[in-house]
């Protein structure tokens, strides 16, 4: 089945460089342009905003509990491996760059560039999961788990839910990699490419906030 959308959000290119204007022909074929063009479709933005709202609730719950148990949260934060957290932040930020470059390649009908950048994004996502597994392993070895205390409950639950988002993103990226092998297929699936990359950027953004909140904010 084809999930290509009819992009209703038509407007001007936000990054309107001559090169990008030239390379956007594929997506513009689907949508008449009459102003700034926002990538993705309305429904996707509703999904992203709704998902981020749920995470905003998670953040609020974490901060509220931090205010109730300040000592426990300070100790919990001190016991986390900040180097691995920072490494994962760098990995995900890099993956977002590669994902953006993949869209750039797709718009320029550069099949090799698109596929290479999608592969790099997937590699970064997989790297994130490996680092996360190492971090979880350290905690389990130290006898810390979901029910250890309030801090660790939220640490495991929120980073775990984020990890599920990463796995969903990797599945979508893999679908793009394996199904889009020609310039024509990429042109037809431009909206899905943009949608997947927007989702990936959201996953990246959520991690940056989670990292700041769980590892750093005191």
């Amino acid at each position: 089945m084809n999930l290509t959308s009819q992009n209703p959000c038509a407007t001007t290119d936000i990054e309107a460089t001559p090169a990008s204007l030239e390379t956007r022909s594929s997506s513009l074929e689907q949508t008449p342009v009459s102003g700034a063009r926002i990538p993705g479709e309305l429904g996707l933005w509703i999904f992203l905003l709704a998902d981020m709202s749920i995470f905003a609730l998670y953040f609020w719950v974490f901060i509220w509990n931090q205010s109730l148990h300040p000592e426990q949260f300070l100790q919990g934060q001190a016991s986390l491996n900040h180097s691995l957290g920072l490494l994962n932040t760098v990995i995900l930020l890099s993956s977002s760059y590669f994902a953006a470059m993949a869209v750039h390649g797709a718009r320029g009908k550069n099949v090799a560039g698109f596929r290479r950048n999608i592969q790099l994004t997937i590699a970064c996502g997989a790297g994130f999961l490996v680092v996360k597994a190492i971090e979880y392993g350290e905690k389990f070895d130290a006898g810390l788990h979901l029910a250890s205390n309030e801090f660790y409950s939220y640490y495991f639950v929120f980073t775990g839910i984020h990890m599920v988002h990463v796995i969903i993103g990797l599945s979508l990226l893999s679908y793009l990699l394996f199904s889009l092998t020609t310039a024509e297929k990429i042109r037809q699936q431009m909206a899905n490419i943009e949608g997947t990359v927007l989702y990936w950027h959201m996953v990246d953004l959520l991690w940056v906030v989670l990292f700041s909140l769980i590892y750093l904010l005191q």
Partner: protein
């Protein structure tokens, strides 16, 4: 062989399905049994046993009513599957999957009522047994979310693949369904917590994971009715022309 040309009776089915679910399940659980919002998992054994003994009749009446209400969820979901099958070419995998998951959702919503009814059936049994049946019912009610999640994912796949001039549901409803699927993912955490936002009465496990799918289902009923009305007017125009 039944050939359904006039689909207007299905509007009545959709309305009855939604209305009876809200009336029987909503009123039974919220108002009569007092089971929703769920009682706190922090309540002690004597408190739970006293709850069953003091409200014996209203609990049995409310739970029985709600149990009947769960069956009315299915007609609407099956109707959704029929519309989904119009989109799928060849083997209607996602439509069948959606209907089967709807059945699982219905069963996991209905069975806990029977367990609580068993707890209320003999109020002279020990507090410990009442307590155990009470916990068993709530864990069964709050933990399984895969039925809902798969339903919404299958629905979104079909809805987003609908390339017809007038899709059977708007695309934003499909994306919203995906969000609901993401929102119910946290319910397997229920057995880990006796208080807080992930306990069975918590912000995420109850208020988000229970309310959002039901609000979404109400929207689905509205769009299914719209779709039937739209399809019927096209059919009438065709006949008149």
């Amino acid at each position: 062989m039944i050939i359904m040309q006039d689909k207007r009776p299905l509007i009545l089915v959709a309305i009855v399905s939604m209305a009876m679910t809200i009336l029987l399940y909503g009123v039974g659980m919220f108002l009569i049994a007092g089971y929703l919002p769920p009682p706190s998992p922090m309540l002690t054994e004597p408190e739970i046993a006293a709850m069953y003994r003091d409200n014996h009749t209203s609990i049995i009446a409310g739970l029985t009513m709600a149990f009947l209400g769960t069956g009315f969820m299915l007609p609407l979901w099956v109707m959704a599957s029929v519309f989904m099958a119009e989109v799928e070419e060849g083997f209607p995998y996602f439509s069948i999957m959606q209907a089967l998951c709807a059945l699982a959702t219905t069963l996991f919503t209905a069975l806990p009522n029977l367990i609580w009814l068993a707890a209320a059936f003999r109020i002279d049994r020990s507090d410990e047994l009442i307590y155990m049946l009470h916990d068993l019912g709530w864990i069964m009610w709050a933990t399984p979310s895969w039925g809902f999640a798969f339903q919404f994912i299958c629905f979104a796949i079909c809805g987003l693949s609908d390339k017809r001039e007038t899709p059977f549901v708007p695309r934003w409803l499909c994306y919203l369904g995906l969000w609901v699927a993401a929102g119910v993912l946290v319910t397997p955490l229920v057995p880990f917590f006796t208080d807080g936002p992930f306990a069975w009465n918590g912000l995420f496990s109850f208020w988000v994971a229970f309310i959002s799918p039901n609000l979404w289902s109400t929207l689905l009923a509205v769009y299914v009715i719209k779709r039937i009305k739209g399809g019927q007017s096209q059919l009438t125009e065709g006949v008149n022309a």
